[in-house]
Amino acid sequence: MSSDHTHNPGFIRKYVFSVDHKVIGVQYAVTSLIFLFFGFSLMMIMRWQLAYPGDAIPLIGGWLGQYLVDNNGVLLPEGYNALGAMHGTIMVFLGVVPLAVGGFGNYVMPLQIGAPDMAFPRLNMASYWVYVLGGIAMLASFFVPGGAANSGWTSYPPLSVIANVDNAHHFWNGQTIWLLGMVLLITSSLLGSVNFIVTIVHLRVKGLTMFRLPFFVWAQLVTSFLLLLAFPPLEAAGVLQLMDRAFDTSFFMPTGLVVSGVVRDEYAGGGSPLLWQHLFWFLAHPEVYVLILPALGIIGEIIANNTRRPLWGYKTLVYSVVFLGFMSFVVWAHHMFLTGMGTTMSNFFQTTTMIISIPSVVILTAMLLSLWNASIRFNVPMLFALSFLPMFAIGGLTGLPLGLSASDIQLHDTYYVIGHFHYVVAPGTIMALFAGIYFWFPKVTGRKMSTLLGHLHFWPTLLFMNVIFGPMLIIGLRGVSRRLWDQTEYVLGAEVQGWTVMSSWGAWMLGLSQLPFIINFFYSAVAGKKSVENPWKATTLEWAAPSPPPHGNFAEVPVVYRGPYEYSVPGAKEDFQPQHLSDAKLS
């Protein structure tokens, strides 16, 4: 590779088209945080319609444009569907994954293995910019005729294939752009995952064996394999759906469709709507573990650091994560129990689903056991990390009734599912991501975040997350379908409308509770208290580099002498033994 960035690069080279993993990591993090907030805002709009069906959206109702609202500012049903589909897509593919993998992975992982950069720095830059392109495509789709994609984040055909097409026969409509955007996002993730795996396997410093890797790095490694092998099928599926839309092929279109009384014989027929679901869930189930594994990694780091003792059962944790990753490829059809599955397949998939819950139980148990005989410091990152445990437990446990095909008959596609997975991704993963931000902020900026604002952020966030998602479990048990513009249409929905109103208020309050964080984030970055190299007295390698680390990361290449979590070693002078200090230096 060219050496043109050895001498002082210009501003653009340094901050925009940078190949430095740290700059790219920060770019990823900030971009994805903005997307997270945007995706959340879409949901705050939807929650108005859910709480007060048919009422004009206050304040912004008039601004949302003809594809989302009617003349009075009431959210249209198709607008509701578009916001829902885009909320799901944005949160998963533009928010959490880029933040957890692109942001934290890129910034922290090379530091933790003592590498000067990622194995392929320019590829890394390419990943980021392809991701940005995908994001721009998704945003642009709000403005094309017919508005954004509105067939759910799952985009099930035939609905998604016929969606928007007859809306003035535009090829450039929301669903097409959604597909193109997805292809870009998938490509970005693929490039990234290759880079991550090579970096982790090849660029570890001397002494850093695989079983001395911080848990976070293991989580990233497994995550990368999930991305590498699960994403391509969706890419293929995306191409097939694009062909169905553009060339009237019928990969997903069965023979004899009649839409609104019109026989759709432009499609040759003979396709299978379920094919899409297989290809989609082959990606999307591993994808949900992509959402949780980096979070578990972050939690592991923070818990070890703030309990001041080694993570309980490090090897068990590693094996569990690897097993979890493997199993996540063989459970996908538990999203398809009600597509007409027979007994053999359903037994296979409910069994694998029960099996996959075991490593999660083991991981959570290990984290909980790490608290025993600890000396727990309740700083802000730790608060977020601790709250993750019971929240993930609720989310994970509510996965079990969904995983048994018999109980899934009642719960499938109800708010119970929504409640289940939000407990894992929102009070779960999002809390973990917040924890990570508070934890590594001093490393990235050289400054600490305000503790007071941190508390003002943490407590209401934890409270309102539960106010939002707790009621959903109840609503779902009562039998209310998801994706309903107005649940009071149904007897069962009308009965529990009160819970829905409560959930909406929770969402808006949660929105308000993010203000302290946003202020904290920007204020502390420029004017926070200066931080030392290793403010948390941590052991892993990233804390051996200056804060913020310079280009090339380490003044001299570190050597690793021990495992990642040597806290409170009996007889040692200090209660932590950094990985890079030899025994001689420590005594």
């Binding site: 379920l274 059809a333 597509t339 027979g342 053999t344």
Partner: protein
Amino acid sequence: MASSIEEVRKSVRLYLMVFGALGVLTIVTVLASSLNVSVAVGVFVALAIASVKGTLVATYFMHLLGERSTLYWVLILAAFFFLLLILIPVMMHSETVHLIDQVT
């Protein structure tokens, strides 16, 4: 891995042999397909030959033979998921169709 100059020189002859084998196998596939056998046998023969050819390409041209086990594990993983992805949808579909036939 063929890395030393000597080894590379030796393998050049090997490449030409593999090339010959691939050519012959291509002709065999075409001929076999014109035989009058049942569809199942035809599919089996064609895919078997293709697999042999694929293996030749992978082992010799791509030097898979000389690689370490790390790579094998990655590829075995991919191959396993590949099979799963191919088999499960078909099996599930068959089962559903069976279910429908049972009742109607």
